[in-house]
Amino acid sequence: MKILYRALLISFVFLFLAGSQMATADSGGLSTFVAVDLVGEAFVRSRETSSKEAQIRGAEVFFAAPIDPVFDGTLGIAAHPEGGVSHFELHEATISSSKLLPYTQIRLGQGFLSIGKLNRVHQHDWPFIEAPKVHTSFFDSEGVNDVLLEGTVNTPTELPLEFTLGVAKGWVYGHAHNEGKRPLVPTHYTRVQSFFELPGGGGLQFAGNYLGRTDSNARRTRLMGLDITAKWREGRALAFFLQSEIWLRQVKNPGVDREDTIGLYVFPQFNVTENVDFGIRGDAYSVLSSKDALGNKIENASSEIVPTVTYKPSEFSTFRLAYSWQLEQRGDEVTRVADSRLQAQITFILGSHPSHDF
């Protein structure tokens, strides 16, 4: 409960301070929001001995405003409970511009890398509760966040094309509470995105991604992935939504064979009634290069099925319930249910949330 109180207290203090500035902030165009993400789960069957109690997974305070006629600034601070202690992290502190160069957005500072789909979306805006294994293993439970310099170009062509090129400090990768070490090759990444209009007012966005990094121990990591997002709207409702990513990771340690791992997830979601959606996520994950002592390939796969019901009375609050079955297979061992658990989530947003990407 201490964590809950501290996270909420900090959030509301920030909001109060921002609110007290509103009289002057309006003229400066300051937008402020607090996003709170509560998650609870109960293990019905698990290899773990205890289930997680309901807790605030994250409370995020976000500020955004134009700095001057050319530059915009953002500041985002998030609190997360870890091992009974709440950690405060700088999620975003960026200066950006969409007015410096034609067709080009430039972003400099600390933030989530603009790569893939989930990594570009804040956790409270995900369409499901927990990240799939491919994301937690290849990126992080939340996402890869670093000091970065990034440029995104949208070409003025008939076919929508968006190119992103970025480089990040890369001293750490994923979640860390230390400084890390200077990498031999910093994290670098690119994303190429396009879009097709679909019949009936729908649209399909798809993108190819690449990320590379060589750490201080000469461990070289390469990630290659595809992400797609499709939406059909009917009036106010999102009648159908599809989100999917597939990633291949290659890790090469000095003097050791390369490890190849593949993972994917597919999440179709249907609108049931005005405010209720039903989606089902299917995940798959396998280490392709897994071998036994004799060098024979070991078949292995992890998969998860997660049916999810979402009640969204407005765009500022979400109530979500999900049940997940995790399945494991290794060698000739028969596939079995390893874990199954029930999860619940409540998210709410106070203040002015900026508009989202597609």
């Binding site: 007015k99 034609p102 067709y103 949208n154 508009s355």
Partner: protein, 321 residues
């Protein structure tokens, strides 16, 4: 011989093509490319700009402009535009700022010479007099943004587009001003003609009272002498509960109101539910110009709305008798 023949035949053709191309370049300067959020303002700008403009609307008129995604094809269209015009008054706040930022063109972002918001020229209705918050629903702090269904208000707001076109192409100021004067006359004439049509119908006096699903007919009703008495939504932008629908249904029966309006983008399941509860036929009307339809132009759209209202009112009055 062959080469000589080719030169004799082809050279004049090439010269003609070059001279044609240069003549066309000299005679017709490039068109102003205008991108609008909704097809209604696209129609108005075509009327003002004529063959000097090429206008594209991001929305087709079938969507609810409050609930739209910032699609990448919108970014591609906007990135080529000389002028971008929106309804404004926060109608497109959920998606247009993202599109403009991604298009990354200084001239078409707020404050740029090619940016225009029709709403900035409108004396809005229902502007909150006290601070708003989300417990009140999706309230627009600058006032109701659905002004384009009033010809006179819409015509006045179109001045904002004229100003933007003149900023981008100052040498055409006289031409745009002249066409805007014609446009104003045409729109006021349209309003007068439809007022007359409504006053000749049964939609007058007590019969001119109506209910609506969402507060999007307030400017229309002010122009055409209708009186709004109820809204199906309890709070703007939020779906009404069954209890709310039942309550409004009872109210309309008690007050003998027979006209109920809803846009085609309103949730049809809730509209059907209300019809079952009230026994009234809801007049579901388009509220935007739509290409490839019977209402490709604004006058045709308003004619359609007026005709549907008159017919719905007649049917409901017959049913009541």
């Amino acid at each position: 011989m062959k080469i000589r023949f080719i030169i004799q035949i082809m050279l004049p053709v090439i010269l003609i093509l070059i001279s044609e191309a240069s003549a066309s370049t000299q005679l017709s300067p490039p068109k102003i490319l205008v991108v609008t959020s909704t097809p209604d303002i696209a129609w108005a700008i075509r009327e003002i700009g004529g063959d000097r403009v090429e206008v594209q609307s991001l929305l087709t008129g079938r969507e609810d402009p409050h609930f739209v995604d910032a699609r990448p094809d919108y970014v591609a269209k906007v990135s080529k535009a000389d002028v971008v015009c929106s309804v404004g008054l926060e109608l497109e706040v959920g998606w247009l700022p993202k599109v403009l930022a991604k298009a990354a063109r200084r001239d078409i972002q707020p404050g740029g010479k090619g940016y225009c918001e029709f709403g900035s020229k409108v004396e809005t209705l229902e502007k909150p007099t006290s601070p708003v918050n989300r417990s009140q629903g999706d309230v627009h702090p600058a006032g109701n943004p659905h002004f384009w269904l009033s010809p006179s208000v819409f015509a006045k707001a179109t001045r904002e587009a004229v100003d933007a076109l003149e900023r981008v192409r100052p040498e055409l100021k006289g031409a745009f001003d002249a066409r805007y004067s014609e446009f104003l006359r045409m729109m006021l004439g349209l309003e007068t003609r439809l007022q007359a049509k409504l006053s000749q119908s049964a939609l007058t006096g007590a019969n001119a009272r109506y209910a609506e699903y969402h507060r999007e007919f307030v400017y229309f009703s002010k122009s055409f002498g209708l009186t709004g008495v109820a809204v199906l939504e309890e709070k703007p932008g939020l779906s009404p509960s069954a209890a709310r629908l039942a309550m409004v249904s009872t109210q309309l029966k008690a007050e003998k109101v027979s006209l109920v309006l809803a846009a085609t983008s309103a949730p049809q399941k809730l509209i059907r539910k209300f019809e079952e509860l009230s026994g009234l036929k809801v007049a579901v009307v388009p509220v935007s110009v739509q290409s490839n339809s019977d209402f490709e132009s604004y006058p045709k759209l308003l004619e359609r709305i007026v005709d549907v209202l008159i017919e719905a009112s007649k049917q409901n009055q017959k049913r009541a008798q």
